[in-house]
C-alpha cells in the first residue's frame, strides 16, 4: 500500500482531459444523430401508413433488442465484409446515434401521443392545418412532457460512449486504461475518470432541469390537472 498518490493524477491529467474532450465530442455527435433519427422514427411510428409504422417498429425493436457493444462491432468489424469500411469515429458516432435514436424515438412517440387529442381537434376546428397543428400545438406540449425521460437517455448515452473504447477510440475510459497500464495506479486514475463522467452527467441533468422549468410547466400542469380530475 502506497497510499493515495496525487502526483499521478497531476501527471496524467492532460491525457485524461483529452479523453474527456473525446467523450464529450462523441456524446454530442451521438446525441445530434440520435435526435434526428429519433424524431424521424417517431413521426414514422405515428404515420397513417401501416408499412411505415412497421418499418419504424422493426428498427426500434432490432436496436433495443441487441447490445450496443455488438452493434458497434457489427458496424466496425463486420461491415467491411460487405464492402462498407467505416473509420472508428464514424462507426462510433453511427453506433451511438442509431442506438440513442431508437430509444429517443419511443420517448418522442409517447410524448406526442400524450398530448390530448382534443387539443388537436380544437386547432383543426379553427382551420389550422395538420402541419401547423403538429408544430404549434402538439410538439411544444410534447417537448415539455419528454424532457425528463430525455435526460435519462442522454445520461445513458454519456456512459455508453465508454463502449467505443473497444473500437480503439481514445475516449475517457480508454485514456484511463492507458494511464493505469503505465502507472499501475488504478485507484487514483479510475477515481478521476469516475468523477469526470459524474461531472458531465450532473451538468447535463441540471441543464435539463432548467429547460424543464421553462418549457414544461404548461404541459405538466395540464397532466397534473388531468390526474386530479380522475381523482389521483
Amino acid at each position: 500500500m502506497n497510499g493515495f498518490d496525487w502526483k499521478v493524477i497531476v501527471e496524467w491529467a492532460p491525457l485524461l482531459l483529452q479523453g474527456l474532450g473525446v467523450t464529450i465530442l462523441f456524446t454530442l455527435g451521438g446525441l445530434a444523430l440520435g435526435l434526428v433519427i429519433g424524431v424521424a422514427v417517431a413521426v414514422m411510428a405515428l404515420s397513417r401508413h401501416g408499412l411505415v409504422r412497421i418499418v419504424a417498429r422493426a428498427f426500434v425493436d432490432a436496436v433495443r433488442g441487441t447490445p450496443l457493444l455488438l452493434q458497434l462491432f457489427i458496424l466496425y468489424y463486420a461491415m467491411p465484409s460487405i464492402g462498407l469500411k467505416l473509420s472508428a469515429p464514424v462507426a462510433g458516432i453511427l453506433g451511438l446515434g442509431i442506438n440513442a435514436g431508437a430509444y429517443l424515438a419511443e420517448i418522442f412517440r409517447a410524448g406526442i401521443e400524450a398530448v390530448p387529442r382534443q387539443h388537436v381537434h380544437a386547432a383543426r376546428s379553427l382551420g389550422m392545418s395538420s402541419r401547423q397543428t403538429f408544430w404549434r400545438i402538439e410538439l411544444p406540449q410534447a417537448v415539455g412532457l419528454v424532457l425528463p425521460p430525455m435526460a435519462n437517455e442522454m445520461i445513458s448515452l454519456v456512459k455508453s460512449t465508454s463502449l467505443i473504447s473497444t473500437i480503439s477510440i481514445g475516449e475517457l475510459l480508454r485514456s484511463g486504461q492507458i494511464a493505469v497500464s503505465i502507472t499501475f495506479a488504478p485507484l487514483e486514475i479510475y477515481l478521476v475518470v469516475a468523477l469526470l463522467y459524474l461531472a458531465i452527467n450532473l451538468a447535463l441533468s441540471n441543464l435539463v432541469r432548467v429547460l424543464e422549468h421553462r418549457s414544461g410547466a404548461g404541459a405538466r400542469g395540464e397532466a397534473m390537472r388531468s390526474l386530479q380530475d380522475v381523482g389521483v
Binding site: P116, Q118, H119, H121, A122, A123, R124, S125, L126, G127, M128, S129, S130, Q132, R136, I137, P140, Q141, G144, S215, A217, G218, A219, G221, E222, R225
Partner: protein
C-alpha cells in the same frame, strides 16, 4: 345558411346517425336535445368535419362541406387547404374547453387568426383583448389557462372561437363539465351572442337554457331527428312519445 340532408355516420358496425335532415337559417339559434348516445354531438362534429359523414350532404351557404363535386356528379374529398378554409368559418366550442396549456389566454386566442387568416399580430391582439373584455376576462389575458376556473376557461374558448369571426357557432355541451356555480356565466355569454344575432347550433342538457335562448328545439333519439318545434310548443306539448318520455325524465 346550413343545410343538412340525409346525414349518415357509421363507426364500424354502429350506425350513429341514420339520416338527419336539418335546415338552420341565418341568425337562428337551434338547440339539439335528446338522450346520451342519440347522435347529437356527432351531428356537430360532422358539421365541422372533425368526422367525415358516411353519407349525405352538408351545405354551408350553399357550398358542400368537405367535398368537391365533379362535373360528372361524383364527389371527391376537398384538398386539405380548402377544407381548413371552410372549417375556419365554423366555430366550435367543446365540452372540455380544450385550451392549449402551453400558451397564455391571449396566445390561445390570437394563434388561429395569425396562422390561418394571416391577421397581423397587433390587430389579432387588439381583437383578442376586445373579445376577452366582452366575456368579462380582460384581466386574465396573460394567465395560463390551467389557472382559470372551468367557467373562465370556457369563456376563453368561446372568445378563441369568435376571434375567427365564424359564420356559425357549434356549441357541444359547453356547460356539462362545469361546476354548477360557473354554468350561469357561460350561459350569459351565449345568450349575449344569441341576442346579437349569431347563428348557433347547440347541444345541451340545460333544458331551461334551451327554452330561453333557442328559436327552435330539435329532439334527437337513436340517430334521428324525431321532432323540431319552437321551444314554447315543444316544452308545453311534445308531439313524439319519446320526446314526451325524455322530458318527463329530465324536467
Amino acid at each position: 345558411m346550413i343545410s343538412i340532408r340525409n346525414l349518415h355516420k357509421r363507426f364500424g358496425d354502429t350506425e350513429i346517425l341514420k339520416g338527419v335532415d336539418l335546415e338552420i337559417a341565418a341568425n337562428e339559434v337551434v338547440a339539439i336535445i335528446g338522450p346520451s348516445g342519440s347522435g347529437k354531438s356527432t351531428v356537430l362534429r360532422c358539421l365541422n368535419f372533425l368526422e367525415a359523414p358516411t353519407a349525405g350532404d352538408i351545405r354551408v351557404d350553399g357550398r358542400l362541406l368537405g367535398y368537391v363535386e365533379t362535373p360528372s356528379g361524383d364527389r371527391r374529398r376537398l384538398p386539405e387547404a380548402d377544407l381548413n378554409r371552410q372549417r375556419a368559418e365554423i366555430g366550435m366550442v367543446f365540452q372540455q374547453f380544450n385550451l392549449w396549456p402551453h400558451k397564455t389566454v391571449l396566445e390561445n386566442i390570437i394563434e388561429a387568426p395569425i396562422l390561418v387568416r394571416g391577421t397581423p399580430r397587433d390587430e389579432a391582439v387588439a381583437i383578442a383583448r376586445a373579445l376577452l373584455d366582452r366575456v368579462g376576462l380582460g384581466h386574465k389575458a396573460d394567465a395560463r389557462p390551467t389557472t382559470l376556473s372551468g367557467g373562465q376557461q370556457q369563456r376563453v374558448a368561446i372568445a378563441r372561437s369568435l376571434a375567427m369571426k365564424p359564420k356559425v357557432m357549434l356549441l357541444d355541451e359547453v356547460t356539462s363539465a362545469l361546476d354548477p356555480e360557473t354554468v350561469r356565466e357561460v350561459l350569459d355569454v351565449i345568450a349575449g351572442l344569441a341576442k346579437e344575432g349569431m347563428t348557433m347550433l347547440l347541444v345541451t342538457h340545460e333544458m331551461a337554457f334551451a327554452r330561453e335562448v333557442a328559436d327552435r328545439i330539435v329532439f334527437m333519439d337513436d340517430g334521428r331527428i324525431l321532432e323540431a318545434a319552437p321551444p314554447a310548443q315543444f316544452f308545453a306539448a311534445p308531439a313524439h312519445p319519446r320526446a314526451r318520455a325524455f322530458l318527463d325524465k329530465v324536467l
